[in-house]
Symmetry: none
Subunit: 137 residues, 4 copies
Amino acid sequence: MSLLSQHTAATAVQAGIAKSAEIGVKMNIAVVDAGGHLLQFSRMEGAWLGSVDIALKKAKTAALFTLPTAVIGTISQPGGPVYGIEHTNDGLVSFGGGLPVVDQAGNVLGSVGVSGGDVQQDTTVAEAVVQAIVAAH
Amino acid sequence: MSLLSQHTAATAVQAGIAKSAEIGVKMNIAVVDAGGHLLQFSRMEGAWLGSVDIALKKAKTAALFTLPTAVIGTISQPGGPVYGIEHTNDGLVSFGGGLPVVDQAGNVLGSVGVSGGDVQQDTTVAEAVVQAIVAAH
Amino acid sequence: MSLLSQHTAATAVQAGIAKSAEIGVKMNIAVVDAGGHLLQFSRMEGAWLGSVDIALKKAKTAALFTLPTAVIGTISQPGGPVYGIEHTNDGLVSFGGGLPVVDQAGNVLGSVGVSGGDVQQDTTVAEAVVQAIVAAH
Amino acid sequence: MSLLSQHTAATAVQAGIAKSAEIGVKMNIAVVDAGGHLLQFSRMEGAWLGSVDIALKKAKTAALFTLPTAVIGTISQPGGPVYGIEHTNDGLVSFGGGLPVVDQAGNVLGSVGVSGGDVQQDTTVAEAVVQAIVAAH
């Protein structure tokens, strides 16, 4: 029933580590299944300890709403339509670095969360992980 | 003592599902009693998983203050009179989609929480659920 | 991707309510999907308020381990092999009334949690809900 | 400062997956550093979803006390010297499957948590992960 194999998840995290090394940042990288349950995780040496939880929660957030976490961030600002949504579901992350993975048929395969650099770097690495999952699928 | 029967709650959630289908969204719909305790819940197929918790917390929030969650959102903004109230009561929701249900005599019957669309869609469905409860009462 | 439709979940909870009425108890009945996410819930009038959380956690427990909660209870006793397991996963229930639902091909469809009577009554109703899901599948 | 490299952690989890396959169980395998912070995690396809949290907490437990989780289980029984210790530190696990990793000089390198089989199977796989870390060091 699982749409995302352990092998694919591990390979994709490895691709994320390679991309992180290429752009010179130390990352925490998480992959969860479509239900938000953790499949694979790596913390690179020297990555921020506080980014473990952020990477895990970014992946969870993207899975629970099938949306990039950056989108949640846009609509949850003070005065925005879902201000405070980050306090639901035992904590969401409302800035970039979490991406859902959807195949060409529209099936949700899971999602990815990356934390350790700035938001642009986190997103760049998350995109590399997503691409590796899609390519292997 | 209960002013809101299980049958009425179930019928009202069904009315909310019908309204959701009519406007083309996949919703999570919760009805709680006047004490904030869950009575009835349905998640439509394809609705966001993260909206389960939001629908439950919207209904709880509306019950605990006998106010629409949108009102809580207005007064909990930065600089507002109850800034941060969403961190009380094990988590409240501070945007629209939660509505209290009060009969013509002013009795609180319970409340409704809906999540799965945008805030306007959530509110539209919540209003349909409230109307079904009032009509059955 | 969902193996358990909203319609089936709702019909099955209704079957559980009928069984509860037949044996003369007021129940809380929850159905979750294979990932442990809530699909459908009803509390019968007069059912214990404290059983809402128990029914929800029984369903979650059965989903997370694809085991009846009574089995978790057997092995988590003091001196038992997994003593204290109920404190993981934000709280599990370690007595009967939660049952996984598996189809003939071995696919996990979801699980059921019932609370409101004694453990034998809870289990009787949970079995009725499981049978209704399997029959509709 | 880190005594346990990401490469070693990933290799060791891979050794644990191989051992799990050899004994025919689907495991969740976590490796944390000496501070208890997650380094590497894999969930094998078909492993219990509820074992994600248990594997993570076993590794954390073993790291926080530099003790096998089975030892915590022995001393936390009713009437035992640290009865209830599992409720500290946001949740510990008090049965086997978590092991600290200490090198020949007595340096704590980190710890390992495995969940998915019975306690003996979990311990067998955890030992394989520990051995792989020590061998790579």
